[in-house]
């Protein structure tokens, strides 16, 4: 193992240099040090030390992380294909961000609460949400078919950044209950420009709320590059609000796990919020309705392919003999089965009955709603061939 010192030719160093081109003030003013990046596993699969963060994983745990990464990528791939086949209305791919999601998701305890965007398929996986439930939302047959309280995983939030306020409110509730838990909220680089996110930073800071702000900086807010969002590295924004911010290699599942685990621990112990900027890259389109080739250059994608979050874990396991070929084959087979299973169950999902729209409106019987439901039932019954 060696201490990570970015140098010329090192892909991470290339990444940092690229980042510095984004953040022009670093070079021109020289007032701030270059952005620091917590990394525990290089893109080549080499373990490196970091003075503040470390992690000690058993081979079993490493294999588990690898399995998570592969399986969520497979689910995501199947979902993209299903959209391309007309089975989903839209899909937001997590391709390239698996390590950020699995690393942070596996740092959570059962008691912790997570607030996702609409792209946190990997976190959902860690929280035990059936992937088919995620697909149901995008197929239009449910509005998020899981119980947030059961999984401690809130429903997907489509509005950009609003979930940060929900999360801070929830964290303040935890604080008042005196519970041994923390909240984590996910958002992207684009969301940092939203008022909601900045307001939530203020509240979390002032009330010392037990919340971890987990920003997956995938470099692109749909078609807007990061330099249109910020003149400073995003993690440094936290200092203006009065809490620590840290940038972690978002394609390094070990580092994401270590940093998030520490931030959650700090939150639970009353040390307040942390902003984690997981520096990663959206390898796919923003959603299936988007064409990224229209606004970003192919070279950028090729550079990030070298930093794939799964390949580096695989290389690390090979090098350290943590798994053999049989293990990798079995994971591939499991992924294929999962893909088939998700596809099959997605296609089998029944259309909701029209009258289901009246459920989940009020928790208790409601006279007006009952009346409206009866009227609507009568309307449906007025068609020949009965209701469908």
């Amino acid at each position: 193992m060696r201490v990570n010192r970015p140098k010329d030719g090192d892909p991470i160093s290339v990444a940092l240099n690229a980042q510095e081109r984004h953040v022009t003030f670093d070079a021109s003013r020289g007032a701030e040090a270059p952005p620091e990046l917590v990394q525990l596993l290089t893109p080549e699969g080499e373990r490196v030390e970091h003075p503040a963060y470390d992690i000690d994983l058993t081979p079993e745990e490493v294999r588990g992380l690898y399995r998570d990464l592969v399986l969520v990528r497979r689910v995501d791939m199947e979902a993209v294909a299903l959209q391309r086949q007309g089975e989903l209305g839209i899909w937001a791919s997590l391709l390239g961000q698996e390590a950020a999601q699995i690393g942070s998701g596996r740092a959570l305890t059962d008691a912790d609460m997570a607030f996702p965007t609409y792209r946190e398929h990997g976190v959902a996986w860690c929280r035990g949400v059936d992937p088919v439930n995620l697909l149901g939302l995008f197929r239009g047959v449910n509005h998020g078919g899981w119980d947030p309280a059961e999984h401690n995983f809130h429903l997907y939030t489509i509005v950009i950044g609003s979930q940060t306020l929900h999360a801070v409110g929830y964290a303040m509730g935890i604080q008042r209950d005196g519970a041994d838990a923390a909240t984590i909220v996910y958002f992207g680089d684009g969301a940092t420009s939203q008022g909601d996110v900045n307001e939530s930073f203020i509240w979390a800071s002032v009330f010392n709320a037990p919340v971890v702000f987990f920003c997956q900086n995938n470099q692109w807010a749909i078609s807007e590059p990061l330099e249109k969002q910020s003149r400073i590295p995003l993690y440094r924004r936290a200092s203006g609000f009065g809490f620590p911010g840290i940038r972690v290699d978002g394609n390094d599942v070990f580092a994401c796990l270590a940093v998030t685990r520490q931030a959650l621990k700090n939150a639970r112990e009353g040390q307040g919020p942390t902003l984690i900027e997981a520096f990663t890259y959206r390898m796919g389109a923003h959603t299936t309705s988007d064409d990224p080739t229209r606004y970003r250059v192919a070279g950028e994608l090729e550079a990030w392919k070298l930093k794939d979050p799964i390949e580096r874990v695989k290389a690390y396991m090979f090098k350290n003999q943590l798994a053999d070929q049989d293990f990798f084959d079995s994971i591939e087979a499991e992924a294929a089965d999962l893909g088939r299973d998700v596809r099959k169950r997605c296609l089998e999902m029944p259309d909701p009955h029209p009258l289901e729209i009246f459920e989940h409106v009020y928790s208790e019987p409601h006279a007006l709603l009952t009346e409206e439901r009866e009227q609507y039932a009568a309307y449906l019954a007025s068609f020949e061939g009965g209701e469908r």
């Binding site: 086949q85 007309g86 209305g89 239009g140 299936t288 229209r294 009955h353 009568a378 020949e384």
Partner: protein, 486 residues
């Protein structure tokens, strides 16, 4: 079983795509999610993965062809046992590329089929996402049941849903709830706007009542539930309470093309006062055009004086001062007719008519005759400010003895003011504008205004009224006269 892959909407709301390149051809083996074709939509070039595993039966769209969303582009023989197609033998797989027959796979995807060309309607899954792949005309309405014969106790909706769970069981409503309007209601006048809330509209439809034939009694003339019931029962249309000051638009009365404004508050009070005044006090109005150039100069000069540093000086101030001065010379103009006697006031509570958001109000400056000019300016300023902000007290609004109405602010020359009830005179002050004026035999541009004085002829004859108007005019033409006469 031969299954067709229909071109999906890969963006949100796309209707067509161009086939760019096929990656497979007839006879090729394909697996699920294998890239089979590149298409270009309005948004992007997209690779489509194959949804089936099997052997390509036929490519159903050529490269370069633009295909509507929902049209089959490839047929794959999956080798599965499929449900037999309704009518006719299973179509043979053709190796030459021509699709065999119109057999389609069960509607197990979200892609809506384009409208069939004359074929029998096939129940397909309708699109469920807003704006998703729906072509105009792509959806068809299912036929409505004819009005069901009433079958008491036989639930009309006891169908599929009732069996899915106890709490979901729905007590069916009477199918009559959706019956069509009957009789003349169907021939309602087109294009006539009717104010009625949706439940009332539904009630009218259920009862066969034409809303355009009803005069509403609700807010803003809207039609209420009671109106509809009354109309349905053949009762005479409810009488509309005549609104003072708004009645009598003749042939248009009762038509919904009018807006009906309830008469209340300031409007009601104003109407009552104006009617009381106009039909009790015989009005006489006299007019006078005045060169007020000197007054305008005086206003400018006053503004420069330290005494007026903190108050607003306007031409109205000097008009007020002139009227107060005229009252001093002809006290009869500042009086009240009680029937038995004339009460001449030795004080002037000077009313100023003010247009406010709530309507016309006439607050007055108490004891205006006793106020030095700066104080009068201050009082006028405070009064108009209170009026505009709606803070006038009842005391401000009562006890007036004579009034000025400053219609000039609206850009008119003058009008025939109607007396504030209980007062003997009201002075209208028109706009000040540049007009050609004869001065010393020369036509020169001067600042000219129009004054109109209405007075109660029971009290004031033309002689006194004319003197008052003449003196006010003289004082505005030469403000020094105010000094002389006060």
């Amino acid at each position: 079983m031969l299954r067709e892959f229909k071109l999906p909407d890969v963006g949100e709301g796309l209707t067509e795509a161009e086939i760019i390149k096929w990656h497979v051809s007839a006879g090729d083996k394909v697996v699920i999610n294998q890239t089979i074709v590149e298409i270009e939509t309005a948004k992007a070039v997209v690779e489509l993965p194959c949804p089936f595993e099997g052997v390509v039966g036929a490519l159903m769209a050529a490269e370069g062809e633009t295909v509507d969303v929902g049209k089959p582009i490839i047929a794959v023989e999956t080798g599965e046992e499929g449900p037999p197609p309704s009518g006719g033998a299973p179509a043979a797989v053709s190796g030459t590329g021509a699709p065999a027959g119109r057999q389609t796979a069960p509607a197990d995807d979200m892609v809506p089929a384009p409208p069939a060309e004359g074929g029998e309607a096939k129940p397909v899954r309708t699109p469920v996402l807003v704006g998703y792949g729906v072509k105009p005309g792509a959806t068809t309405r299912r036929p409505r049941k004819s009005p069901a014969p009433s079958a008491p106790g036989a639930p009309a909706t006891a169908g599929a849903y009732a069996g899915t769970g106890a709490e979901r069981t729905v007590a069916p409503a009477e199918p009559a709830a959706v019956r069509e309007p009957a009789g003349p209601a169907a021939a309602s006048r087109q294009g006539v706007a009717v104010l009625a809330k949706p439940p009332v509209r539904k009630l009218a439809r259920d009862l066969g009542v034409d809303l355009t034939s009803i005069t509403g009694t609700g807010p803003n003339g809207s039609i209420t539930r009671d109106d509809v019931h009354a109309a349905a029962e053949g009762a005479t249309a409810p009488a509309v309470t005549p609104a003072i000051g708004y009645a009598g638009y003749g042939e248009y009365a009762g038509s919904e093309r009018e807006e009906r404004i309830p008469v209340k508050g300031v409007r009601k009070a104003t109407a009552a006062a104006m009617v009381a005044s106009a039909f009790t006090a015989p009005h006489v109005t006299e007019w006078l055009q005045v060169d007020v150039t000197a007054t305008m100069d005086a206003v400018r000069r006053l503004r420069e004086l330290p005494d007026f540093a903190e108050v607003k000086v306007s031409p109205l101030l000097l008009v007020a001062k002139a009227l107060i001065t005229a009252v001093r010379r002809y006290p009869l103009i500042n009086s009240t007719w009680t029937g038995e006697e004339i009460v001449v006031k030795r004080y002037v509570n000077l009313g100023i008519a003010a247009a406010t958001q709530r309507g016309l109000i006439v607050p007055n400056v108490k004891e205006a005759q006793a106020l030095p000019l700066p104080e009068l300016a201050r009082a006028l300023g405070e009064l108009t400010e209170k009026a505009r902000s709606g803070r006038c007290t009842p005391a401000d609004l009562t006890g007036g003895t004579i009034t000025i109405t400053n219609v000039g602010v609206f850009g008119v020359d003058a009008g025939t003011p109607i007396l504030n009830p209980g007062e003997a005179a009201i002075l209208a002050f028109g706009q000040v504008r540049d007009l050609p004026w004869v001065v010393d035999g020369q036509i020169v541009p001067r600042k000219v205004t129009t004054l109109a004085l209405s007075f109660d002829h029971r009290i004031v004859d033309g002689e006194v009224g004319s003197y008052v108007l003449r003196d006010v005019g003289a004082m505005l033409q030469d403000p020094l006269r105010m000094l002389a006469w006060s």
